[in-house]
């Protein structure tokens, strides 16, 4: 048995994990899969006589998780005084609200 580890940046949450595992465990020769959404890596134990890393990599890409390809996130504009939610919805509080202070508990002692 051999091991191979791939970086899979698009597997960033645990609802992606079952998809990745299913894609890999269905391949003959794959013995075990450890898919970590925390580290965005997948470690595969496989039989080199039956399957090779290229096949595994292709299976990942076909499932929507290409190796080493970062998730391209849209860049949202930096919130400023003009359009940030805390200004537009309720007005950002910059002083301690007396109601909060009155209700606050023991944490003020820290």
């Amino acid at each position: 048995m051999e091991h191979v580890e791939f970086s899979v940046p698009r597997m960033w949450a645990d609802h992606h994990v079952p998809i990745v595992r299913k894609a890999l465990l269905g391949i003959p020769g794959v013995e075990d899969v450890y898919a970590s959404s925390a580290w965005k890596t997948v470690r595969i134990t496989y039989d080199p006589a039956r399957v090779n890393p290229n096949t595994l990599e292709k299976a990942l890409a076909d499932a929507g998780y290409p190796v080493g390809v970062e998730l391209e996130l849209p860049t949202y504009p930096e919130q400023t005084k003009d359009n940030a939610m805390w200004y537009t919805v309720a007005g950002r509080m910059t002083e301690t609200n007396l109601a909060d202070l009155k209700m606050s508990g023991d944490h003020r002692k820290y």
Partner: protein
Amino acid sequence: MSRYIATRAIRGATALVYEAEQLLNKALKELGPDTPVQFTNTAYYLPVILGLTGIEVSKLGDMPKVLERAKALLHPIPKDQVWLPYLGETLDSGIATLFAAELIEGIRFAYGEQPEKITWGGKIAKGGSFTSPEFEGEGGNGGTLNGPIDDIQLRAWGIQLVDGRMPGFAAIVGCAKSNEVAVEIVRQLQQRNILVFLSGNVNGRSIIHQLMEEGVELGYDTYTVPFGTDTLSAIYALGFATRSALTFGGMKGGMARDILLYNKYRVFAFVLALGEVDDLKYAAAAGAINYGFPVIADTVIPQILPTGITSYEHVISMPFDEIPGENDLERAKRLVQRCIEVRGVKIKVTEVPIPVPYGSAFEGERVRREDMRIEFGGKKTRCFEYLRMADFDAVEDGKVTVVGPGIETVPEGGAMDMGIVVEVAGRKMQEDFEPVLERQIHYFINGASGIQHIGQRDIAWIRISKAAAEKGFNLEHFGKILVARFHADFGAIVDKIQVTIYTDPKKIEEWLAKAREAYNYRNQRLADMTDESVEEFYSCTLCQSFAPNHVCVVSPERLGLCGAYNWLDCKASYQINPTGPNQPIPKGKCLDPVKGYFDKVNEFVQSASHGSVQQVSMYSIMENPMTACGCFEAIMMVVPEANGFMVVSREDPSMTPAGMTFSTLAGVAGGGLQTPGVMGVGKYFLVSRKFIAADGGLKRIVWMSSILKETMAEELKAAAAREGDPDLLDKIADERVATTVDEMLPFLEEKGHPALTMPPLF
């Protein structure tokens, strides 16, 4: 504040909002904007979104505007070099995550992918708190996880949440170190009566799988609710929290700040992250922190110590293998203890000296026939329980005696007769408290894991499971449970307790006769007790911890709307805790005997409702009706077209002639609001002589959920006969014959329902 956590939470939030956008665009294209979106049996749409924004999402087309709100809450990922406070940005991103997660779950519902199906072939228990031992099926949908908790269950748990029996909830996300640890964590929480919500996975394996493999019964009855195997489904826990504020706190959608503060101060919840933590888990944790819920992880992660959003620490790392302890079970225990400390959950644990775990969370556990060691009562044998007051000298405190053969004399799966006689003595004990205490036997015995108790008096039915018997549970332990619990819970009125368990046939005959004589005497005493025969009513402000302006006024002929507190219960409760929620209210001058106005009652209600209710009519729904918190067993509403009222039960999910289901109606009836024509009631109030007496009484009921008709058939028939119309029950429509006014009216006319010829309500 940790830059690492801020970075990962903001990144996770951004990715999830992006994913929600992609998914929504796909769904709008494939299903269309008019496709309905609804969580199971709830009147609160997508509850987190409703609560925090006021937006009522009922179809896919309502979602884009929520998505825009989520986007506006996102912030740039912190830069490597520049130090900023980050907390505000992280919290905003947390809320954006919750919106996105709820949208995704809503879309999954639209696609029919929720509640999640699970491939494991085990059984999932679903259903109400009362379950027959003959219920042998799989329950619910078999291989489907729970998904969101429905409104009916939320309200059913209401009274336990407010009276402290259920201190809060633990949202567990991920997978424990081993199955053994998973079971121990859940058992520890169950023993403290903390609701356990399960979601998330690590490498595809969830704590739900672990518990199922170990045969742990999951479901509403055992306080362990499997939401789904990914972290997205943890949104249902926050939906539950939001709905608590909407249901019991009288808040409306959009009151974000109030809802979050309500949760911080009233809902004792925390998140326990088991196993590695990914970007989404960080982001969802940031969402939970907004509610004042701290996060405890059993792995190495950075911490966020006190900054004021939660009561104490915000994020705590407690790497499992580094927890001091001799073995993993001890480490699991300490982990749970730490969680409770961090949230500041107030818990009273009674030590019960028996060989099986003990706690209210085991109350709903079933013992199926194939798992049963022995049963008492039911179809084959007799079982009764009788509690009586005795002289001080006649009671030896803590003594438990078994008179007759033990369970070892009966083959596995067999049955035997049993009688439990409890004798109590106390300076403040009164004969009137006997039935109040006797009814506790059901809850006390049910608290033992592997023991099932149903019924009361001489129709009690008890089962001991094989697992409990193997651990050494025997007859004597019933006595030990009762001694420990009566001392702990009723110490103010009970000083000494002794319990005798009879299995000897001759003794059973003798004591059963005595017990039946006492039951008859009590029945007569209760029947003779009227509102006119007492000088004072009792208040119940127990629910003010959740519904701050609600006051129940409990009289001998009007029990609390939750069904859990009658006049005698309140009287006993006052003796136990003289400064507690049940205070005597002198009736004072009767201002109107028909509608039930009393000057001192009005004074009390004005004060206790903080001025929001000026006067209350005890016997009318049309004029100043009593308010409701949200725990009601049934809701009544006027049906003007039929000149009467309908009553819908909490257990009835069907449509009613009012055009609303129970869940929707509950929004009108709850939250301490006084709405003429709408009222939350305890179901046994229906058979009271004083039931809406000013408006015409039981004869005004034109529609009633069939479950009420069936489960209370004898009582309702007797009440109908008393009202002079013995066939009244057959004249009342239910959801099987009518769910609209148009369907109901011909039925009422055909049956000659008396409401049609009564004086007009308006």
